[in-house]
């Protein structure tokens, strides 16, 4: 059976390139792929190359079938699913590895190259960074080069294949741009986009258990970017309200799933001057939408709604970057009246937990006289006693609030917010916890604000009769600089120094800021090019009432035009050299020499006659004569025509 004979080494010219293209396409998946998939891929690639070199045999069919089954089951076991980007790319990688085991002919490599393209595609579905564009371009170039090497008859140098690949790609880039710009984008997907849980992003969690985590990692990842169309609020007013937690079980605070509050917005009284801004929110895979305090207005067409506790939310989890406009007022009044059930809800504490705190609160409330005085007293306690702000507090155990208030006295915003809320509730004052971001850093390169995950914050809202809900930030009492300058600017116990304003050097700071500004532009111009932006761009181009028909027509027209241009360029590339270029050049030379050749005179005798009259140009005339004879009688080579061209064009200059 021919199957069992060794390979013939005929794939040696193309296989390394095919493998290289495949490997390049796998790179962005490496951090997500199970380690065994990577191992199988690498092993099969290396082994297959060695097979081709050493003319070994390929494995028999049964081994391949068993391996395929095992790999399929393996992927299923690793992901509990075979759909979605994660398992999809794992399957592609495994398929490529297994296909290698039966890649016998030149043409089998087509399948590998198709897989290579799909791998690039699936990496784009997962993440679209700024470098993804050059990455995908390079990936396509490698794939196309491998493709070319597969179909070359003679062995050509790698440089040549790369050059041809790059040239063909360069021709297609204008076509790509035209199609990209004009291809009509649609708003509604054809099928539900599966949410990929394998690559959860860092972000706010919807629960809070201070004392469970003993260190808070500061991620410099961008949470969102804000462009202000009015004045930028001062740092201590930059409270980006997110979700509200009101349920406490002694250790953990939780809130409600977002649901539409019927008259949530009517309960708000907005005070002060409005602030208008546009937020570009990175995907959170949650339904909470962040805004400055309680927003007054927001994009009506974004399917946002205001939930019962005045939080902004969206009906579907945010798995793509979204941009929205909003208007907020720096100050607000809320719920002057509180129903009895609400009062209960916001003052409820679990029995027999944190009892020392409850007792402390009752005593302090009694001595304070009024609720306002009590609140101030609590804040003063945080400020004046030995409370420390630290990102690495000790763990707190079963009665976290007690232990925090009386023993450790170290913590970050969550500890203070939690303790404060318990102290309020124990004294009968309705209170709740708000999770969101506090602060934000202006990027001078792009005139916008960056709010990072490290700016995540927790604070409180308390309710007082006749005043309604209002914000109290106990962390501000302990570490006012945290609120004044934002976390990026603060140094707490020597830790917590992060990038941004505290970047090691001015240069690095500039660099990070420029990079972020580039990313912001990238998001704004490239990634956010959806139905809305496309419509706006078409209008800017002068298209009236853009719709998909007009865009498709424009697309077709431009593609036809570009194709015609490419066609002409190709014709120019393939045109034969001018018919008698040599004769024309020679005539130019005799003209410049100032001596008319006689009828039937050979170049040699003309040369002899010429140097008698003008001996000063002997060398040049000799060069030109022999080059002319080369072109005329030598093998047809473009190089010699070119040499003659240069010699003749330089000839008159040398005369002077």
């Amino acid at each position: 059976m021919s199957k069992r004979t060794g390979t013939d080494g005929s794939l040696l010219a193309s296989l390394p390139w095919t493998l290289g293209a495949l490997a390049f396409s796998v790179i962005p998946h490496l951090q997500y792929l199970p380690i065994w998939v990577t191992a199988i891929f690498l092993a099969c690639s290396g082994w297959r190359l060695q097979v081709e070199r050493k003319r070994w045999r390929l494995p028999p069919a049964w081994i391949r079938i068993v391996l395929s089954l095992m790999c399929f089951i393996g992927v299923l076991a690793s992901y509990q699913s075979v759909s979605g980007v994660g398992p999809g790319s794992a399957l592609l990688a495994v398929m490529a590895a297994l296909k290698l085991l039966e890649t016998r002919q030149r043409r089998d490599q087509f399948v590998l190259l198709f897989i290579s393209i799909f791998l690039i595609m699936s990496s784009l579905l997962r993440e679209q960074y700024l470098w993804s564009l050059p990455y995908l371009m390079t990936g396509v170039l490698f794939t196309m080069t491998a493709w070319l090497r597969m179909s070359e008859a003679r062995r050509v140098s790698v440089g040549r294949s790369l050059k041809t690949g790059a040239r063909l790609m360069a021709y297609s880039i204008p076509l790509m741009i035209a199609m990209w710009v004009f291809f009509p984008r649609i708003a509604t997907p054809f099928w539900a986009v599966p949410i990929d849980t394998s690559s959860a992003t860092s972000g706010l969690s919807d629960r809070m258990s201070p004392g469970d985590i003993s260190s808070l990692s500061l991620s410099n990842a961008v949470a969102f970017r804000v462009k202000f169309t009015s004045n930028v609020p001062p740092p201590h007013e930059r409270y980006w309200r997110g979700l509200v937690l009101h349920r406490f079980n002694g250790r953990t605070w939780t809130g409600n799933e977002p649901s539409r509050g019927s008259s949530a917005r009517d309960a708000v009284e907005y005070l002060g001057d409005p602030v208008a801004y546009e937020i570009t929110l990175e995907p959170t895979r949650q339904r909470w939408v962040f805004a400055l305090e309680i927003p007054y207005e927001w994009d009506r067409n974004k399917r946002f709604f205001m939930a019962g506790q005045q939080q902004l939310a969206i009906i579907q989890p945010i798995d793509q970057r979204i941009t929205y406009n909003a208007v907020s007022y720096p100050d607000f009044r809320l719920n002057n009246e509180l129903q009895q059930f609400e009062r209960n809800r916001y003052t409820r504490l679990p029995d027999d937990s944190n009892s020392r705190t409850v007792e402390l609160a009752r005593n302090m409330r009694k001595s304070a006289g009024s609720s306002e005085a009590y609140i101030n007293q609590v804040l003063r306690k945080f400020n004046e006693e030995e409370f420390f702000y630290t990102l690495e507090p000790p763990p707190l155990g079963n009665n976290p609030v007690d232990r925090f208030l009386f023993d450790t006295k170290q913590g970050f915003c969550e500890h203070y917010a939690s303790a404060f809320a318990v102290l309020m509730r124990a004294a009968g004052i309705p209170s709740r916890i708000v999770l969101g971001y506090q602060g934000g850093e202006i990027n001078p390169m792009g005139q916008y604000m960056i709010v990072r995950q490290a700016d995540a914050h927790a604070w409180n809202e308390v309710w007082l009769p006749r005043r309604g809900w209002y914000r109290v930030d106990p962390t501000g009492a302990v570490a006012p600089e945290r609120i004044r300058e934002g976390r990026s600017g603060a140094m707490f116990d020597g830790i917590g120094a992060s990038w941004g304003l505290n970047a090691p050097s001015e240069f690095l700071y500039q660099l990070t800021m420029t990079w972020d500004a580039l990313n912001a532009k990238w998001n704004e111009w490239i990634l956010a090019y959806g139905p809305d932006n496309q419509g706006k761009f078409m209008e800017w181009l002068g298209m009236q009432k853009p719709d998909w028909r007009k865009m498709m027509l424009t697309l077709v027209a431009i593609v036809v035009l570009l194709t015609a241009i490419i066609s002409v360029m190709l014709i120019m590339r393939y045109r034969p050299p001018a018919k008698d270029e040599a004769a024309r050049l020679y005539r130019k030379f005799t003209g410049a020499a100032g001596l008319e050749p006689e009828m039937g005179e050979t170049p040699f005798s003309y040369f002899a006659r010429l140097i008698i009259e003008r001996s000063e140009i002997t060398t040049e005339a000799d060069d030109i004569t022999s080059l002319y004879l080369d072109v005329r009688y030598g093998p047809p080579e473009l190089a010699s025509v070119k040499a003659l061209q240069t010699a003749v064009s330089e000839f008159p200059r040398q005369r002077q």
């Binding site: 043409r107 087509f110 198709f114 393209i117 799909f118 690039i120 595609m121 784009l124 579905l125 679209q128 993804s132 564009l133 995908l136 371009m137 396509v140 196309m144 493709w147 070319l148 179909s151 070359e152 008859a153 003679r154 050509v156 041809t164 063909l168 790609m169 021709y171 297609s172 880039i173 204008p174 076509l175 790509m176 199609m179 990209w180 291809f183 984008r185 649609i186 997907p189 054809f190 099928w191 986009v193 793509q320 490239i526 990634l527 090019y529 959806g530 194709t563 490419i566 066609s567 190709l570 014709i571 590339r573 393939y574 045109r575 034969p576 050299p577 093998p635 047809p636 080579e637 473009l638």
Partner: protein
């Protein structure tokens, strides 16, 4: 046109339908293009192009990717998809351009014996400043090797057409095709040069001894030309040596006459159709062919006498060719009628 290249879509091939369609298309092309000269430069209007199986799969892939990009509203996937669509577009034009301007020239075909493959030599010249990769000639399922042409380069491609019977092998038309750059498209041109090659009869393997040399004096070698004594003139027959043509008489009368010499028969071998003992005509011709080959190999003089033709004993390449040619066309009803296999 048919192709030996297997594609992923083999199952779509309905042999009968394909054949009928092919014949129609071929007739149409022939009518449209007319007969080509032996040296023909390919113009763009006669170059045809269709996607290959790989090209169709590629198209399907980009379409799937487009749907995916639209669904996810993923602008970088759009970039990737449209880049590939662009590459497809460009490769279509590049594929067609790879043939335009090529010079195709017939460079001869040597006579073969029936059963051997006639090797049609066709030179392709690339007059342009650019490389022309992945060129190939084909006719029916027969293909030449694949080769690339550097700028200014000329290369001979071979089409080896099997023969089975004596007479001629006709190459009415052949194609030149390319898959460059990505094998997504196949572009081709048909050439109708009406080429043909000569097919001698098949040489028999086991043959009876040829008739003995008729030389009594034993010096048949140098004496065998039969040119000693002029014996008169007779009408010229195809195969007569030009040296025997009476050129003076031709100048006078305009009639081609051959000089006859006496004594020609005395010292040479005659192969006569009537003397061969064999079952049928083809067998006889085969045996005669073998005798001629053997005699030629040993540089002996030999003459051939078959109904309608007589070649006086001689030797040499020309003589051998004339004799074998006469055998090849023996009994052909009309010289114009196509005898032998026609490839198109």
């Amino acid at each position: 046109m048919s192709s030996t290249t297997s594609t992923y879509l083999d199952f779509l091939k309905f042999p009968a339908f394909r054949e009928a369609a092919q014949i129609r298309v071929q007739r149409w092309a022939r009518k449209r293009q007319g007969t080509d000269k032996a040296v023909t430069q390919l113009k763009s209007r006669r170059i045809y192009i269709l996607p290959t199986g790989v090209g169709l799969v590629f198209g399907l892939m980009t379409f799937t990717m487009l749907l995916g990009s639209m669904n996810y509203n993923n602008n970088l996937s759009f970039v990737l998809t449209f880049l590939l669509v662009g590459v497809g577009f460009v490769s279509m034009h590049q594929c067609q351009r790879n043939l335009v301007g090529l010079e195709i020239a017939f460079a001869g075909v040597d006579p073969v014996f029936a059963g051997q493959a006639a090797e049609f030599k066709i030179a392709i010249t690339n007059h342009s400043k650019n490389r022309r990769p992945h060129l190939r000639l084909y006719v029916g399922g027969i293909t030449s090797h694949i080769d690339d042409l550097e700028p200014g380069e000329s290369r001979v491609f071979y089409l080896e057409l099997p023969t089975s019977e004596r007479g001629r092998v006709y190459l009415e038309r052949f194609g030149v095709r390319t898959l460059f750059p990505f094998e997504l498209f196949r572009s081709w041109a048909w050439l109708h040069m009406d080429l043909s090659g000569l097919v001698y009869p098949k040489a028999a393997r086991n043959v009876p001894e040829p008739p003995p040399t008729q030389s009594a004096h034993g010096h048949r070698q140098h004496d065998a030309r039969g040119e000693e004594d002029f014996a008169g003139l007779r009408r010229f027959h195809v195969g007569d040596s030009p040296r025997h043509v009476a050129w003076k008489a031709y100048a006078r009368s305009g009639e081609l006459l051959s000089k006859q010499f006496s004594g020609a028969d005395t010292s040479s071998q005659w192969f006569e159709f009537d003397q061969v003992e064999a079952a049928d005509v083809e067998q006889r011709l085969s045996i005669l062919t073998r005798w001629i080959i053997d005699a030629d190999r040993t540089q002996r003089d030999y003459g051939l006498r078959i109904p309608g033709h007589e070649f006086s004993p001689a030797h040499g390449e020309g003589h051998r060719h004339r004799c074998l040619e006469a055998l090849a066309f023996f009994d052909a009803a009309e010289p114009d009628m196509k005898v032998g296999r026609v490839y198109s």
